[in-house]
């Protein structure tokens, strides 16, 4: 059986790490002059809980270890977050983050499988990660390995038909080792989701597709870990944790302005953002 998660969270360490990762995302996207900092900031605690909350089994110096748990960043525009956490986890040096979106850099604008260790799937065209994750589950069964696959989905991404194709198939194959986390920050590229597309009722949709569904506070490590632990205990159906988050979390003027979705902060805004992230009080 897969090991269960540790029940003790070192909250001060995780919070400090969240601060550093937010700054990494800020620095990398500001330097690049483009990218999706606000979409990355909303999922910082989710990805950190997986990598540093004792959830994922991984060996950063042996990234292809067959027994590893998989993490697939299906919302590929949160690439700066993925790269920052992988660097903190020891997959590669943090200095690589300085080359985000540059020519000849393996740190591409969106993740490309095979270019950086720890990147499990090529994503960026939304809707694709859950299917790849299900493939890893079926492969694990054939290889007699019981690793788990964690897929981070965007909320707007759930408008894509492929997500529901994969959802139907994962339930059909009783993929108990498949755990999706939905970064429900309530905004997509052009506006509030409630205005742009009738995504709700999400809990009922996933449940009707045969999934085990829970909700979490996506910025609360303890809440996330509790839900992940519950999901790990489910063996005969896939699980999804709908994590309620705030887009741009950590920088007040970004939280209030969804037009930051696909753009970096300019140097002046970045200086203000750094100030806020450094003095985080939430």
């Amino acid at each position: 059986m897969s090991q269960s998660v540790s029940t003790s969270l070192d909250l001060p360490v995780l919070r400090d790490m969240a601060r550093e990762v937010r700054l990494d995302i800020l620095d990398a996207t500001t330097r690049a002059g483009s990218g999706h900092p606000s979409s990355s900031w909303s999922a910082v605690e989710i990805v950190l809980t997986l990598f540093f909350g004792g959830v994922l089994r991984y060996r950063s110096k042996d990234p292809d270890w067959p027994e590893r748990d998989r993490f697939i960043m299906s919302k590929g525009h949160a690439a700066p977050l993925l790269y920052a956490v992988l660097a903190h986890a020891g997959y590669f040096d943090r200095s690589e983050l300085n080359r985000l979106r540059e020519v000849d850099s393996p740190v591409q604008g969106h993740p490309i499988q095979g270019m950086m260790p720890g990147v499990e799937a090529t994503t960026g065209s939304l809707g694709q990660g859950l299917s790849v994750g299900l493939g890893h589950i079926l492969g694990g069964r054939l290889n007699d390995l019981d690793y788990r696959v964690y897929v981070l989905l965007g909320d707007g991404e759930c408008e894509a038909g492929q997500v529901w194709e994969a959802a139907m198939a994962a339930a059909h194959f009783k993929a108990g080792n498949l755990i999706a986390i939905l970064d429900y920050n309530k905004y997509q590229e052009t506006g509030p989701i409630s205005r742009e597309m009738a995504l709700e009722p999400l809990v009922e949709k996933w449940r009707s597709f045969g999934w085990h569904v829970t909700e979490a506070d996506g910025h609360d490590f303890a809440s996330l870990l509790t839900r992940l632990s519950e999901a790990q205990a489910v063996s005969d159906q896939p699980s999804i944790i709908i994590a309620h988050t705030v887009k741009g979390k950590g920088v007040s003027f970004v939280e209030k302005d969804f037009t930051f979705h696909g753009r970096a902060l300019n140097p002046q805004q970045a200086a203000l953002a750094r100030e806020e992230i450094d003095h985080v009080t939430w």
């Binding site: 067959p66 490309i112 499988q113 095979g114 499990e120 799937a121 090529t122 994503t123 960026g124 065209s125 809707g127 694709q128 990660g129 859950l130 299917s131 790849v132 994750g133 299900l134 493939g135 890893h136 589950i137 079926l138 492969g139 694990g140 054939l142 290889n143 038909g161 492929q162 194709e165 994969a166 139907m168 198939a169 059909h172």
Partner: protein, 331 residues
């Protein structure tokens, strides 16, 4: 179908898709890493051969091609060799983006079977036909593209695709094709075209079902004293530049023949290579910018100009142009 009659080719009873099913079962038997993914058409593509023998390595993902491709990519990442199978039109047109990111851009070891290529699936009509597959897979730069022309080359192509490490797309057909190669004796090296008939006056470069038609055309031309070389371009990428350049240099005129749209097809890529290496007169047999109708395959091939007679006529024109140019130079 009367394909191969003029050339004296031996008919083969089983349709090419059935041969694919046999070939797939053969590689699955030899290699336990081979897995098969089906978009609920295994009884048509004949991928079901593996379902019947190795059910644990066969996955029907239903009528959901996008998910089908993504799941295949995940299995490839686990060290398996997935054969992702469906009609060419459904796979490429429904799941092009997934094939692009999860297979082509990720450069993973997955195989894609596009069954029912071309117009010879016949009576089901243009919604099911794959007349744009060369162009679409052409837009996926890491993919090897294979188009077998007969039963022996289908067996060889499936084996070569499975052994090759990287993305491969393979076209299959609904119809029966005559034997061009002896069974188990088809020379098949990815990227190396096969010259299946010698000739010095011009070269017909064909793929898939059009190879047999090209051999028929060569037999018709021989009666007129025109010696046509016939090249089976079974690999559309990487394309055999040497064979094309040699054909241009040695025979001085080229006709291409494909069961595909001319726009974005094999012929246009060959023309680019000919223009760069040794420009000679060319003619192109294929589908003009049109969708076809439902109908008997032979009727469709006749209506849309894909018969041996059409190839022979194109060859006469190319040859006449070559002669005119040669005479001009001589004069």
């Amino acid at each position: 179908m009367s394909l191969g009659n003029e050339a004296g080719l031996k008919a083969y009873k089983a349709p090419l898709r059935n041969v694919f099913g046999e070939a797939l079962l053969a590689v699955a038997t030899d290699n336990p890493r081979v897995v098969v993914l089906d978009g609920d058409l295994g009884n048509s593509t004949k991928a079901e051969t593996v379902r019947n023998t190795f059910p644990e390595r066969f996955f029907n993902l239903g009528i959901a091609e996008s998910n089908l491709v993504g799941v295949g990519a995940g299995l490839a990442a686990c060290g398996f060799i997935p054969w992702i199978t469906s009609f060419s039109s459904f796979l490429l047109c429904n799941a092009y983006d997934q094939i692009r990111l999860a297979i082509a851009m990720s450069n993973i070891n997955a195989k894609v079977l596009g069954s029912h290529g071309g117009i010879t699936l016949g009576k089901d009509g243009p919604t099911q036909m794959g007349i744009e597959d060369f162009a679409l897979v052409g837009g996926l730069p890491t993919f090897v593209m294979l188009v077998p022309s007969d039963p022996a080359s289908m067996h060889a192509a499936v084996r070569a695709a499975t052994e090759y490490i990287g993305p491969v797309w393979l076209r299959s057909s609904r119809v029966s094709l005559p034997e061009i190669y002896p069974m188990n004796a088809c020379p098949f090296e990815i990227g190396k075209a096969n010259t299946v008939r010698q000739g010095d006056d011009l070269t017909i470069i064909a793929c898939g079902i059009m190879v047999a038609a090209a051999l028929d055309a060569a037999a018709l031309l021989a009666r007129e004293g025109i010696g046509a070389r016939v090249v089976d371009m079974h690999t559309l990428r990487p394309m055999d530049i040497d064979a094309i350049a040699a054909a241009a240099r040695e025979t001085g005129a080229i006709v291409t023949a494909e069961e595909h749209l001319l726009t974005g097809g094999m012929g246009s890529n060959i023309a680019r290579i000919v223009a760069m290496h040794h420009p000679v007169p060319m003619r192109f047999v294929g589908l003009a910018d049109t969708y076809t109708d439902s109908g008997d395959p032979d009727d469709l091939l006749r209506k849309y100009g894909l018969t041996a007679a059409d190839i022979a006529q194109a060859a006469r024109e190319a040859y006449a142009t070559k002669r005119r140019l040669d005479n001009g130079r001589a004069g």
